[in-house]
Amino acid sequence: MIEAPIKEPRDLDGPAGVRVEVVGRTFGRLHVLAGMTLHAAAGEVVAVVGPSGCGKTTLLELICGLQKPDSGLVQAAPAALMPQRDLLLPWLSAIDNASLALRARGSSRADARTAAAPWLERFGLAGFEHSRPPALSGGMRQRISFLRTLLAGKPVLALDEPFAALDAITRAEMQGWLAHVLELEPRTVVLVTHDVEEAVMLADRVVVMSGRPGRALADIPVDLPQPRHRTDPAVVALRERALVALGMTT
């Protein structure tokens, strides 16, 4: 499905890391983040897990520059967002959805398609270039959504619970797929998820957040090679560690 990298659309000039230092963010009287700290080195995959409403999405929007912190410091290389739902445009074909970021920067439709075509093939979407989103499976839609974010050419990817809407089997497949893609196409990734197992399967580090106002409770390194197996005792042990940090005793 995926062979050697073809063309790198990324811009790796300058540091490609993410630094979030003791950041606070308040909406009216609602303290969403308080003293949140997170670091991601260039090429590192950092997963952020935490209870619902702990400010994970706000954290991603801060990293993407869509919001400004009320206190603290956010320093991040240019980041592209992958939203929670796939949000593919129903009037565009798979290839036109995938190349939306190129169109957003002013490429012609033909140029954007030419640039995106080899990627669709690498992502196992050959033959579906001209299908509309409703004709595609959930896993395919998610792959196109990821490709759309990847083709923005930003050094940092901000993934907001990318597989939350998929069924368990597809989700497991997509996790293996994403780990594989990131091995071939390394990026700095901040992956927000509520699924501790997903975090351990994909990330180099797992940051555990508290309930609102969110801050980092633990920073767990995952020194395991890919591909990982969810039944591997080391994976299970790390998952337990993260769950304990979340305050969930099993």
Binding site: L66, A80, L81, P83, Q84, L87, L100, A104, A158
Partner: protein
């Protein structure tokens, strides 16, 4: 067979209504000058077919062009209001007010400015039908997922490119929905425009003919003209549904069809 069955309820209801109408006129002692029986209307429709047809063509042209003008103006106003809060505050109340202006007040001014040709009729039709297009288009623009706008921001899209690639296509189903609401009022607008705007031509349109027929005590011919206008409204509504299906197939989900 399935097609026939699909239309059966509508046909049965129509037959019942016509039957009741016929019985009411025949047995109820209604003066035929006040209300003609369906068989008289059918007779008038046949006997005056060439007069009705040539006048229908005039009215049909007015309605089609009028809806087109309304769609363009409605879309432009909706986009302007969507982008500018100032424009929204300044213009939106006036748009609502414009719908309360009685056509007979407006008609003399339009004739004075634009003469007796097709232009004053187009203005009247566009005026009565653009409003629903503005409202539904604005609703479609407001319904665009804010997450998509954020996504485009992280893709460094300019405001214009976000509009072109996301908001404008998303607004198109709203334009169609508004146009479908506008169809019926547009036909009434054409009738009002013809009746108040006068005409210098041999075929002044069905609306004008309705007035003439009533003045000449040819009630059946007047009602025949109304029947033709009603059928035209149904045909327009159906064609718009078809056009929507072709132009914005992604939004087509059997919403408000004539027959499913």
């Amino acid at each position: 067979m399935k097609r026939v069955l699909r239309w059966l309820p509508a046909l049965l209801l129509l037959a019942a209504l016509i039957g009741a109408w016929e019985l009411y006129v025949d047995l109820g002692g209604v003066d035929p000058l006040v209300l003609s029986a369906p068989h008289d209307v059918a007779k008038a429709m046949y006997e005056d077919r060439s007069l009705l047809w040539s006048n229908f063509l005039v009215t049909a042209q007015e309605v089609l062009l009028g809806i087109l003008v309304a769609a363009v103006v409605g879309l432009a106003l909706a986009i302007g209001i969507h982008f500018s809060r100032t424009l929204r505050r300044a213009v939106y109340p006036l748009l609502v007010a414009s719908q309360a202006v009685p056509i007979p007040i407006l008609a003399p001014i339009l004739v004075f400015w634009l003469g007796f040709g097709i232009l004053p009729k187009l203005v009247v039709i566009a005026l009565v039908s653009f409003f629903s297009i503005v409202v539904t288009t604005l609703a479609a623009l407001a319904a665009v997922d804010p997450e998509l706008l954020k996504l485009m921001q992280t893709f460094d899209a300019t405001r214009f490119r976000t509009f072109r690639h996301i908001e404008l296509p998303a607004a198109m189903p709203g334009v169609f929905t508004g146009a479908r609401i506008a169809v019926a009022v547009a036909v009434i607008g054409a009738v009002l425009g013809e009746q108040t705007g006068g005409s210098a031509s041999a075929n002044p349109g069905l609306g004008f003919q309705i007035n003439l027929s009533l003045n000449q005590s040819l009630t059946a011919r007047g009602i025949a003209a109304v029947v033709i206008l009603s059928l035209f409204a149904i045909a327009l509504f159906g064609s718009l549904a078809l056009a929507e299906r072709l132009a914005v197939p992604w939004a087509y989900q059997s919403r408000g069809e004539l027959s499913q």
